[in-house]
Symmetry: C2
Subunit: 146 residues, 2 copies
DNA sequence: TATTGTTATACTCTATAACTATA
DNA sequence: TATAGTTATAGAGTATAACAATA
């Protein structure tokens, strides 16, 4: 759904955010990656971590991560290996092919951003970033929170 | 999913947009309305229209509108009546209770916006609005488009 | 034959609980 | 007994096609 009262700043931000997300997801698709798989790779970029920590970092349920990692492993982009120190744990790591995919992701997202924000100067983009950073994030009012 | 590279303006806008949308949906829920039902009422605010035109305005498939209008009618917030000029058509109209609900929606959304944008001055909110308006909307790159 | 609204179906996403293997 | 990962199941949301009534 879309197309409504953009005279409301909240709706405007919500709709433009959704549009931007859709544009980025499309770019990731062109780069050959399912959006959530790409997000997972990005999260793994800094270094290996346990499956549980990865799920926590992505703010998703550990059970949802299973299918994602199955796909990434099937595509040779990431690998799971047992933690010798605690054999219940899986250490998740990016492969060489995964690092290459990260490069393609970066290029595709950069291209999408150039299209989305091409009408703004660098200075204006910085202002937009600064204002967005000051939109209040109040966990107490999250949709699923209590 | 959330929590990722907000050093990318595209991701920042996408995530803040999603958060804002979630906050608004929560407000609509408090006002007693399912988000899509509230959106439908808002779309109907200017005046009655046919079910088909309503679906087109909301950019959803006509078949999805059926359940929404069933709920709105069950709650007494909107009414369908046959168009005498073309008995295939349904004219959809807001009821008095629906107008009252619109008032509650407006209050709830206003409250949510005060929380979300409370750290920004009126002038800054205007700047944010102006910048968001210039983010490129390119239908050719829509997720589901060809 | 084309159009309006409706129903039915399937597919994705997500949320939850139960299960296993290790600790 | 508690924890990490997995599996299974159910629910919401959405997209598509087939259908009945009317034009």
């Amino acid at each position: 759904m879309a197309a409504l009262p953009t005279d409301r700043l909240g709706f405007l931000l919500s709709f433009r955010g959704e549009l931007t997300g859709a544009r980025i997801r499309a770019a990731l698709g062109v780069a050959g990656l399912h959006p959530r798989n790409a997000m997972t790779l990005m999260q793994l970029a800094p270094g290996a971590m346990s499956q549980r920590d990865l799920a926590a970092a992505m703010e998703i349920d550990p059970s949802q991560l299973v299918a994602i990692l199955n796909e990434l492993e099937a595509d040779g982009l990431a690998e799971r290996r047992r933690d010798p120190a605690d054999r219940r744990r899986h250490i998740v790591e990016i492969t060489e092919a995964g690092a290459a995919a990260l490069g393609r992701i970066d290029t595709a997202v950069g291209e999408a951003e150039r299209e989305l924000f091409g009408d703004l100067t660098e200075a204006e983009q910085a202002v937009l970033r600064g204002l967005l950073d000051r939109v209040v994030v109040d966990p107490a009012h999250h949709e699923c929170g209590e």
